[in-house]
Each structure stands twice: as C-alpha cells, then as structure tokens.
C-alpha cells in the first residue's frame, strides 16, 4: 500500500458499488467521485440507500451481519472493501457524525480525549481538547465547564461536540449522516457554518433529507432515488448550484421541486 501517501485525485471514489442486505439489493451500481476539501451532499427520498452508501465508506455496514458489498470504494487508490484493509484504522481516517447527537455519557473533556487515547494519542491532551473544540466552534461555550457531563449540553452543542470528537482522531474525511435532523434551525445553521469552515481542511460527505440544507451547505450534490425494484440508484451528480437551479434529469427536478411521488 505504498500508494497511501500518493495524493489521489479524489478523496473517495466508488466504482460500480452494489450493497446487499441478504438477498435484497439496497443500492445498485453507484459510481461517484468525491472532491477533496469539498462538501458533497447526498440527497434523495427515504429508503433510497443514501445512508447505506455513506456507511460503506467507513465500513460501518460490517456491523450489519447480512450486509455485503460488491464493486469498489477507492480511498487512496485502495479498495476499502478488500479484506486486507483494517476497518479500525479506516474509521479513524474517515470519521462519522450521526443522525442523533450521541456524546458518550462522560465529561466534555473525556468525550474528546477518549477517541484520541484509544488511537494511541501521546501528546498534550489539554491542547488537543482546546484545539478541536475551537475547530468545532464550541470552545467559547464550554471552556469553563470541560468537566461537565456532555449530556448537559444542548442538542446543537452535543452535535458540535460529536464533530469535535471526530476531529480529535485526525481524520481526512468526515461523513455526516443527517447530522441536523434532530436540531432546531439555528443549531442547524451553526453546524452548516462549521461544515463550511471545516471543508478547508477536510473532505465532508453529508447525507441529508433536507434539500434546503444540501443547497445551502454543499458544493456538490448527488441525487439518489429508488429504482422500480426498490433498490437505490444514483440519478444525477453535479455541482450543487446546477442541481438546484437546472437539474438535467426529470426525476431530480421532480424531487427537488417537491413534486416527487
């Protein structure tokens, strides 16, 4: 794997990715390139397999016993579905933020320090905590209460803590699975601002069912929908500005104008 250090053109690239749950094909033949240091949104109706695809990027589908994937997910020119790839390391490099804020039932400080420690962090933990909290635009709000339980924070703060926690293990890519679906509009906008800020240093892939959010926050948008056999397919992938003003495919048009189904 000497290619690991060679900058490949894309942060992640999928080629003919198929994902199955048992006999059911959840997504079909997905080929997508995710640009580095950009925010790419995946939108589509419920059940179109967008979260499934996102979870394929850090092998979270491994925990679903019936799930298996064919095709390629290229990360540093390496197919991550290959058995030789260490999923534990992969998940450090490709971090994830989940739908519901899920901080650990520990202090704010420990929430950030834990992941780093598990991954063998040896430096100054205080500095790491401050740095990542600043990156996540949370430092000013919590700097006096680092020992307080993370569960005492508001939903939006918890989600930013989860982002800070993901940053603390030094990832290259951050996957976000509907990160704002449990948040109020202001907290949502804060997260979107934060994503924009982070995209200078990280590649962000976000799954969202909120089209306005994709339109506001992303540089590229991929539209997924369900095929006639209910498996997910990618319909259109383009710059966000184009997808939301003049989509090429009628199905995209119908979905984003709210005339789906």
């Amino acid at each position: 794997m000497e290619d690991m250090n060679q900058p490949s053109k894309y942060a992640i690239e999928t080629r003919g990715l198929n994902i199955f749950y048992g006999d059911f094909q959840a997504v079909k033949d997905i080929s997508l390139q995710f640009e580095r240091n950009r925010i790419t949104a995946i939108i589509g109706p419920s059940g179109c397999g967008k979260s499934t695809v996102l979870r394929a990027f850090n092998r979270m589908n491994d925990f679903v016993p019936s799930a298996h994937a064919t095709g390629e997910v290229l990360y540093h020119d390496q197919n991550i579905n290959h058995p030789s790839v260490d999923a534990v390391q992969l998940r450090r490099l490709i971090g994830m933020v989940f739908q519901k804020p899920n901080p650990f039932p520990k202090s704010i400080y420990d929430n950030i320090a834990w992941g780093a420690k598990m991954n063998g962090f040896r430096g100054n933990t205080d500095d790491l905590v401050e740095e990542t909290l600043r990156q996540a635009a949370l430092w000013d709000e919590v700097k006096d209460n680092l020992k307080k339980s993370a569960l005492a924070l508001s939903g939006g703060q918890q989600q930013r803590l989860c982002i800070a926690r993901a940053l603390a293990v030094r990832p290259e890519i951050i996957l976000m699975d509907e990160p704002c679906s449990a948040l109020d509009p202001i907290a949502t906008l804060k997260i979107e601002d934060l994503m924009r800020e982070l995209s200078q240093n990280y590649t962000i892939i976000i799954v969202t069912h909120n089209m306005q959010q994709a339109a506001r926050a992303s540089d590229y948008t991929a539209f997924f929908t369900m095929d006639t056999d209910r498996s997910g397919i990618m319909v259109e992938y383009n710059e966000t500005s184009l997808i939301f003003t003049k989509p090429k495919d009628q199905r995209t048009e119908d979905y984003i104008t709210g005339r789906f189904g």
């Binding site: 339109a215 939301f244 003049k246 984003i256 709210g258 005339r259």
Partner: protein, 226 residues
C-alpha cells in the same frame, strides 16, 4: 402530487402578470391613438394611469418575494419565479414607454404636425402583438413559440428606419415644426425599444423551459442608435 399551495399561488402571480401585460397593451394602443386624435384628455388619462401599472408591478414583485420566502421553490419553480420577477420589470418599463408616447401627445397639443402615422401605427400594432404572444408563450412556458417571436423584430426595425427617414425629411422640409417633429423620434424609439423588451420576455421563457440564458437577437438596435 404535493406543492398545491405553491402551484396555486404561482398561477395567481401568472394571472396578475397577464393582467399587467394587457394593461400595458391597452396603454400603448391608447397612447398611439391619441397621437392621431389629439384627444388630450385621453392622453392625460394614459399618462396618469401609468401610476396604476407601477403599483401593480410592486404588488406582483411583493407577491413573488413572499412566495420565494415561504415556499422555497427549487429548480423550475425557482426559475419561473425569477423570470416572473424579470418580466414584471420589463412590463413596467413598457408601461413607461406608453406613458412617454402619451406625454408626446400632451406636448404637441393641437399643433399641426406631419407624423409618419402609418409606420407608427404598424409599429405599435406589431409591438403589441409580439407582447401578447410573448406573454402567452411565457405563461405556457412554450420555448418553441418564444424563440420565433424575436425574429419579428426585424420588421419593426424596417418600419423604424422608414419612419426615421420620413421624420428627417419633414424636419428639413418644415423647419418651423422641428420641435414637435423631433418628438416623433421619441415615439418610434419607444416602440422599437418595446419590441426589444418583448425579446427579453421570450428569453425568460426559454430560461424557464431549459434553464439556459442567452441573448436572442445578438445585435441590439439600441447599440447602434445611441
């Protein structure tokens, strides 16, 4: 199919645009008519009614903004609303042209002036006709119809040129009426500009249908004249 609220409100705005369009048509016809009849009361009415057109324009603009803010339209809906906003402005300008023509009548008063009324009437009829069809195409979002309309502009340009030389002749022949004849240049200019703005409406129609924006008649007459 969801989005019934958006559809209904969009239709309402489109209806308002059609009404605005017909108000402009009427004003143009009436203004040109007063040139011949010298009905100063009528001319004054046209002049004053432009205020109503202006108010309607603001009302429509407001409705479009509210629709954008509350319904968050995307893609075609968004383009339609953006185009409506544009067309709204264009119509208001056309209203100003009609007002300008009415103003010419008021300026001339009952003075004896030899105007190229044949050309002026034809230009007005053509421009109003183009506007009417352009609005229909716009509301129907029919790009094919819309593409054909700007080509009629050539005919208007011909009439403009004929009228222009006739006016020059008149100026040379009757230098005493030069003040009033000069005003006729305004009239044909306004009518010619009106046709140009019809082209803009057609451009928006194509934009709604395809998402593409381009200038329909590459050579804008205005560039040559001014």
């Amino acid at each position: 199919m969801p989005r019934n609220t958006l559809n209904r409100q969009l239709n309402m705005v489109q209806d308002e645009i059609l009404i605005l369009g017909s108000m402009v048509e009427q004003a143009t016809r009436a203004a040109v008519g007063t040139l011949k009849s010298r009905d100063l009361r009528e001319a004054k009415l046209v002049f004053e009614q432009d205020q109503i057109i202006n108010e309607k324009r603001f009302a429509i603009e407001n409705a479009i903004l509210i629709l954008m803010a509350t319904q968050q339209p995307m893609a075609r809906d968004l383009r339609t609303l953006a185009a409506l906003l544009e067309v709204n402005t264009e119509l208001e300008r056309m209203g100003d042209y009609a007002k300008g023509i009415a103003k010419v009548t008021l300026r001339m008063g009952n003075a004896e002036v030899n105007l190229p009324m044949v050309e002026i009437n034809q230009m007005a009829e053509l421009a109003v006709g183009m506007l009417h069809r352009a609005l229909s195409a716009f509301i129907e979002e029919n790009a094919n119809l819309a593409v054909a309309i700007p080509k009629e502009d050539d005919r208007i340009d011909e009439l403009f040129n004929t009228a222009y030389s006739k006016i020059l002749h008149e100026m040379v022949a009757n230098p005493s009426t030069i003040d009033n004849v000069n005003l006729a240049l305004w009239v044909i200019h306004n009518l010619e500009r009106m046709a140009d703005r019809v082209s803009n409406i057609c451009e928006r129609t194509v934009f709604i249908a395809t998402g593409e924006l381009f200038e329909m008649d590459g050579m804008d007459e205005e560039d040559l004249n001014v």
